[in-house]
């Protein structure tokens, strides 16, 4: 299968310089070619594995973290919030 690196890069929010597109394409193609040799196997994977399930959490409040700790890695903070460039819709 042919990979459209530009499309995939766009979906991934990555910009790949034009001169590197070919290299990425080759490298990824080599990996994906392993997949192309997968056998045509019958059946389909189990959608919900009922033999391996999880426990749910009770609806009980756990004290929240301090705002200071939660914002300590933010590049810019104002009015108790992270500031980011203006979102234009």
């Amino acid at each position: 299968m042919k990979i459209d690196i530009r499309h995939i890069a766009k979906l991934s929010k990555l910009s790949i310089p034009e001169d590197q597109i070919e290299r990425f394409e080759e490298e990824m193609q080599a990996i994906l070619s392993m997949v192309e040799h997968l056998p045509e196997i019958e059946g389909s994977a189990v959608v919900v594995d009922t033999t391996n399930t999880m426990e749910l959490r009770a609806d009980e409040v756990i004290p929240s973290a301090s705002r200071e700790d939660m914002l300590m890695n933010a590049p810019q903070v104002a009015a108790g919030c992270i500031v980011m460039p203006k979102v234009v819709e």
């Binding site: 919900v48 999880m54 749910l56 009770a58 009980e60 973290a65 009015a79 108790g80 979102v87």
Partner: protein
């Protein structure tokens, strides 16, 4: 609206659930808290954090699924929906893709004189996003994570609605059910219910659906109505002008009363769904599903029909009571005493009781008024112990104090006088004092009778039985 076309509408409704905590962490789920205080590494999506599913969210989802007559998928799982947006700190939303909690249901709604059945495609549980606050004074946009991770249910309908009115009624009915079940605050002004509206149009009689356009970001009942009318008109205009419609996503601007293009089909998102690897699947016990079904209260549409068919209320009164959980529960509690009939009761519930609750901006259930006292009072009206006028005096007391209406009537001497000899004395004195009116009556102006009865009532200080006064007055004049 051009009547050559039929409108086809489907709704995707998001409702925030009123659990104590968020869906995947133990932070408080509350509206209006100080920014970024109900937050932790999990709901902020910090690297290395993991979700742990709140069982109450599943329970609430199932309750709603039952109310919408859905099949409950007892073995279910969660999936990631991947996309980049500033309000989504993990760059994916943990939601449900191919195995929603509930599916294949329906909701009956009352539109005009008709009961319409709207198909429910699915209902699933997912997490809400952060709130972006546009703040030019800080040179950008602020992020508040308090809402991030608040549990949502998304209810997707079939394209079964045929008018903006139907869609509005559908949404109102959903909202009432959420309130009945006590699983959501359902306050549209706080954004706890939001709708995406799918609209297409087709020539009347056509079998195929037209091109569907999604309008996002609708957050009021009138907005839903207006967004559908606007979009349907837009589509019809395009078609009438020989244009072509495209499957696209538009954004509703409530203030401007119009929608704008958000994404064309070419820019359609590729969400790359896959199973959420941080969670395992789970199986909801059959007993739990059955128990939640058994606990389902009677829902608004059923109530409306019952009030009409069994209580003989008008459609308008029945619906007004049923669409309010508060009114309906109070009405039902009163009915359950078996002490009074439905008609007078509904008049009082929709009249004085609602008036006082509105004045005080509270729920009926929050008034000091008790069910017992109200029904006792109405029974006194019904057995003619007191007049309506006297009842108002009783009501002003029992609305604030838990006093027995019968005691109040006694203490204040409000009981109607039905002793005919006492009434006759009053009638005779009114006749003696109003010679002119009597002559007028005899001369054919029978409408003075009201004045004469009123004089009797005045003399009896409101306690005389007006019907008896009337009869006795007529008899007295005719015999004179």
């Amino acid at each position: 609206m051009n009547n050559k076309y039929e409108i086809v509408v489907g709704l995707e409704v998001h409702a925030e659930l009123s659990t104590k905590t968020k869906i995947f962490c133990g932070c408080k789920n509350e509206f209006g808290a100080e920014v970024n205080t109900n937050v932790c590494p999990v709901c902020m999506g910090l690297p290395g954090t993991l979700p742990v599913l709140n069982e109450k969210v599943v329970e609430y989802g199932i309750r709603m699924g039952h109310a919408l007559n859905c099949t409950i998928n007892r073995a279910t799982k969660h999936d990631r929906k991947n996309y980049f947006y500033a309000d989504l700190p993990k760059a994916y939303q943990t939601t449900q893709d191919d195995v929603p909690l509930c599916a294949n249901g329906y909701l009956d709604i009352l539109v005009g004189d008709e009961t319409r059945r709207i198909g429910i495609t699915r209902l699933h549980i997912e997490e809400d996003t952060a709130k972006l606050i546009h703040a030019d004074e800080f040179g950008g946009t602020l992020i508040d994570f308090n809402r991030c991770g608040v549990p949502l249910i998304e209810i997707v309908s079939e394209p079964d609605m045929r008018s903006a009115e139907e869609a509005k009624v559908y949404l109102e009915t959903l909202r009432t059910i959420l309130l009945y079940l006590g699983i959501s605050d359902a306050k549209m002004q706080e954004g706890s219910i939001r709708a995406d509206v799918n609209v297409s149009v087709r020539p009347v009689g056509a079998k195929e659906y037209g091109v569907r356009v999604e309008t996002k970001n609708v957050s009021s009942f009138s907005g839903v109505y207006n967004a559908i009318v606007y979009e349907a008109n837009r589509q019809i205009e395009v078609l009438e002008n020989g244009g072509e419609l495209f499957q696209e996503t538009r954004r509703w601007d409530d203030a401007a009363g119009k929608n704008v293009l958000m994404r064309s089909k070419e820019d359609a998102q590729d969400y790359r769904y896959f199973p959420e690897p941080d969670l395992l699947g789970y199986v909801i016990p059959e007993e739990t599903v059955e128990q939640l079904k058994a606990e389902l209260p009677e829902l608004p549409v059923q109530k409306t029909l019952r009030y009409m068919n069994e209580c003989g209320l008008s459609r308008a009164d029945a619906e007004t009571i049923a669409l309010s959980k508060d009114k309906a529960f109070f009405f039902d509690a009163c009915m359950a005493t078996g002490k009074c009939g439905p008609k007078l009761l509904s008049n009082w519930v929709l009249g004085e009781v609602t008036r006082v609750a509105n004045e005080r901006r509270c729920e009926i259930s929050e008034l000091p008024l008790t069910v017992e006292n109200l029904v006792d009072m109405i029974a006194l009206i019904e057995n003619k112990t007191i007049s309506n006028a006297a009842a108002k005096t009783v009501f002003e007391i029992i609305v604030d104090k838990d006093e027995k209406p019968a005691d109040i009537v006694k203490a204040k001497g409000l009981a109607q006088i039905s002793d005919s000899s006492a009434l006759q004395t009053i009638v005779d004195s009114v006749i003696a004092a109003n010679e002119k009116a009597i002559n007028d009556y005899k001369g054919g102006r029978t409408n003075v009778l009201g004045f004469l009865v009123g004089q009797c009532m005045k003399q009896s200080k409101g306690q005389g039985n007006p019907a008896m006064f009337k009869d006795m007055m007529i008899a007295a004049i005719e015999n004179s």
